[in-house]
């Protein structure tokens, strides 16, 4: 008896907390069917009159290009960036975690130092560098650096994870005939799945939502990503159809939510398997 009331209470609490956390999303979704006056004028979730065309109208975008273009652009930017980030971070992290080479500690501290640099201080030199390379108004400023493990955070994350894997695994693999490369691909990579997935998910969501870097490097509206497209028509001195903006916000978070739901089991799975089996 007490146990069941206990669990009922626990569930109620969890449901209440869940609703609190979900409310902004629910509001976002519900508000995409409201008029401007209803969005700002009342705090109720459901409007008196529904506006149904926010999704179709919003999808058309403003001016020459619509959200179809923005979504395709974003995929062109995000997918290579994520894949290359994973590949490069794993390789660099493997080097730091398993090999000793001259200046290792120095190089490691340099890498960690780049983590501490404030973004604002590197913006202008980076911009000038990319201009000299002729990469402005293309996606290369995002894709190419990711192939060289420039996200110190991800490299560090992978290093920490690899350090947690026992070296005995490597040694036994070497006895079985592996070289240093196959140790990585056949033994360590499968065990790294959870870390790799977290790198992938984070990089996906961050790149997908990134506004500031995109606006600095991309000038042509033709090449705009979703996050730029969303704010294309936001200006203080003109009437904004907020329901369309909110509708497109709903659409644009869908990929992030999907990725998270489908990949999240790998977060947990695998952590328990990092051991030596008899």
């Amino acid at each position: 008896m007490t146990r069941s009331t206990n669990s009922i209470l626990r569930y109620l609490l969890l449901i209440a907390l869940g609703l609190v956390m979900m409310y902004p999303l629910l509001w976002l979704f519900a508000s995409s069917f409201k008029t401007n006056a209803a969005i700002f004028g009342s705090s109720r979730l459901l409007p008196d009159t529904f506006v149904w065309n926010a999704y179709t109208e919003g999808w058309k975008g403003t001016g020459q290009y619509g959200f179809q273009d923005f979504f395709i652009n974003t995929l062109f930017l995000v997918i290579p960036t994520v894949v290359l980030t994973i590949l490069s971070s794993v390789i660099v992290a493997y080097g730091f975690a398993r090999f000793s080479f001259p200046l290792k500690t120095f190089l490691f501290s340099v890498m960690i130092a780049t983590l501490m640099l404030p973004h604002a201080s590197i913006m202008i030199p980076r911009y000038i560098l990319f201009r000299k390379l002729g990469w402005l108004d293309t996606y290369w400023p995002f894709i190419i650096p990711s192939a060289f493990a420039t996200s110190a955070f991800f490299v560090y994350l992978m290093i920490q994870f690899l350090r947690g894997l026992p070296r005995d695994l490597d040694e036994s693999a070497i006895i079985d005939g592996c070289n240093s490369f196959t140790v990585l691909t056949r033994v360590l990579l499968p065990l790294c799945k959870p870390a790799i997935f977290s790198v992938g998910i984070f990089q996906f969501i961050w790149t997908w939502n990134d506004f500031f870097n995109s606006i600095i490097y991309i000038s042509s509206v033709k090449k705009f990503t979703v996050s730029l497209g969303l704010r294309l028509s936001l200006d203080a001195s003109s009437a904004v159809s907020w329901n369309q903006v909110l509708a497109m916000s709903v659409v644009s978070i869908v990929p992030c939510v999907l990725i998270f739901f489908f990949a999240q089991k790998y977060f947990v799975e695998g952590i328990s398997t990092t051991g030596i089996k008899g």
Partner: protein, 441 residues
């Protein structure tokens, strides 16, 4: 085994790819903005705005193709967020568009350190005749050169929900002064405690305060010599009025209205028609009134001016400015386009009021005649131009000065300091800051 092969290929690709890309990229670097037969010209034009402005500007660019078929104009448009940072980055590294839309508050900084823009006064294809001299002198001329031209004119005004005023029995066709607005506001709030006469956040209250000072003294409130244009007594009096008005319910309490700082149109009391009036620049008229139910009648009027005012203090300023980047490869063509864009009646008809009332006379006349301009915005700008007050100098609009002013206004509004004490503190802080600012130059 297969897996390793795939991985090896990927690895090789990883290191070869960048080399290939950078090879290609350096090849087409110069081609993008150059002319291929000496006649065909590509110009880049960047601006920020909302949906209406994007559509109208793109249509104007399309129309320009007929006038100058050899000129292609690449549009780089976006919302306001991030625009300033982007433009500054581009200007710092010589990659800015040929024609750039700029905002007035950035101009001082952009023109003081380096020479970024063309002298528009000496461009043969560009006529400045249509622009009012004072407007060009006050807002477009820096270091003795016309560096930017106003796209349109905005004026500070009252935005009034006339339907609501009629319903509440408050006259909406009178010239407000500080006494009448206080009396009416007090009466309204006493009759119905959920209603207030005026919508204002601390930014608007700060403008009210400086307006009161300017009207009383007839001088800039901080002059060019880094000295204050008012006495402590005058400041205390103005603050006392704000304090009195807030206590009487003329304004919505600041704690509620400041939740929507800078976004008055999102304030539920305004949307639900419990506040009938607000102060704003005329360009915000559409935003501010678009949230009201259909059929609501809204009008604009002169802002509050004291009965015995020595200066009206009505602010008139360009909505935005257009400049031509010094690094442009085609200054002539850019100037010609700008001339058409700002002066030509045909362009004015396409653009309407998306950049407020056109600043150039021929454009303005054409657009007004064709009914392309909202009558209420036009009314506000006309009133503003006819009653224009002192133009604030650069020191008075400095962001650090502004921060001090807003802090004092907030202290008084939240009842943390009496008008007496607050005015004393204001003068002390301003004098210290002015000394510091003067020392920096």
């Amino acid at each position: 085994m297969k897996k390793t092969k795939v991985l090896k290929c990927l690895l090789i690709a990883l290191f070869v790819l960048p080399a290939l890309i950078s090879g290609c990229a350096s090849g087409n670097d110069s081609g993008s903005a150059g002319a291929d037969d000496g006649k065909n010209v590509t110009l880049r034009f960047s601006w920020w705005g909302g949906e209406d402005r994007h559509k109208a500007t793109l249509a104007a660019i399309e129309a320009y193709k007929k006038i100058a078929p050899n000129v292609t104009i690449e549009a780089e448009y976006q919302g306001f967020d991030g625009y300033q940072q982007k433009i500054k980055t581009q200007l710092a590294s010589n990659t800015a568009a040929d024609i750039i839309q700029l905002d007035l508050p950035w101009m001082r900084e952009l023109t003081s350190k380096s020479d970024l823009f063309l002298d528009l006064g000496s461009q043969p294809g560009l006529s400045l005749d249509g622009f009012e001299k004072t407007l060009l002198e006050n807002f477009g001329t820096y270091n003795g050169k016309v560096q930017a031209l106003p796209t349109g004119v905005n004026a500070y005004c009252l935005i009034i929900n006339k339907s609501l005023m009629d319903k509440l029995g408050i006259p909406s066709d009178i010239k407000w002064d500080w006494d009448t607005i206080y009396e009416e506001g007090k009466k309204l709030h006493e009759k119905d405690s959920s209603k207030y006469l005026l919508l204002a956040d601390h930014g608007i209250l700060a403008i009210d305060f400086t307006n009161m000072l300017k009207q009383r003294t007839g001088k800039e409130w901080i002059d060019d010599h880094y000295t204050l244009g008012f006495t402590q007594e005058e400041a205390a009096e103005a603050l006392a009025w704000i304090d009195k008005a807030l206590k009487a319910g003329v304004y919505q309490p600041l704690g509620e209205s400041d939740l929507f700082f800078g976004k008055g149109e999102q304030n539920p009391k305004w949307i639900n028609q419990e506040i009938p009036m607000t102060f704003a620049m005329s360009s915000l008229y559409i935003t501010q009134t678009s949230v009201l139910p259909q059929g609501t009648e809204t009008i604009t009027a002169l802002p509050v001016i004291a009965k015995d005012a020595k200066d009206t203090s009505v602010l008139v300023r360009p909505s935005q400015l257009l400049a031509i980047s010094k690094s442009t490869k085609h200054p002539e063509e850019a100037a010609k386009f700008m001339n058409w864009f700002l002066n030509d009646p045909e362009a004015a008809l396409i653009l309407g009021d998306v950049r407020s009332i056109p600043a150039s006379k021929p454009s303005q006349e054409a657009a007004v005649k064709a009914g392309k301009i909202n009558a209420e915005i036009s009314n506000a700008v006309e009133l503003g131009l006819a009653n224009a007050g002192i133009v604030d100098n650069e020191i008075a609009t400095n962001s650090e000065i502004d921060a001090i002013l807003q802090e004092i206004i907030e202290k008084v509004s939240y009842g943390k300091a009496s008008p007496e004490d607050a005015s004393k503190e204001l003068i002390e802080k301003l004098n210290a800051k002015l000394k510091e600012l003067q020392g920096r130059n």
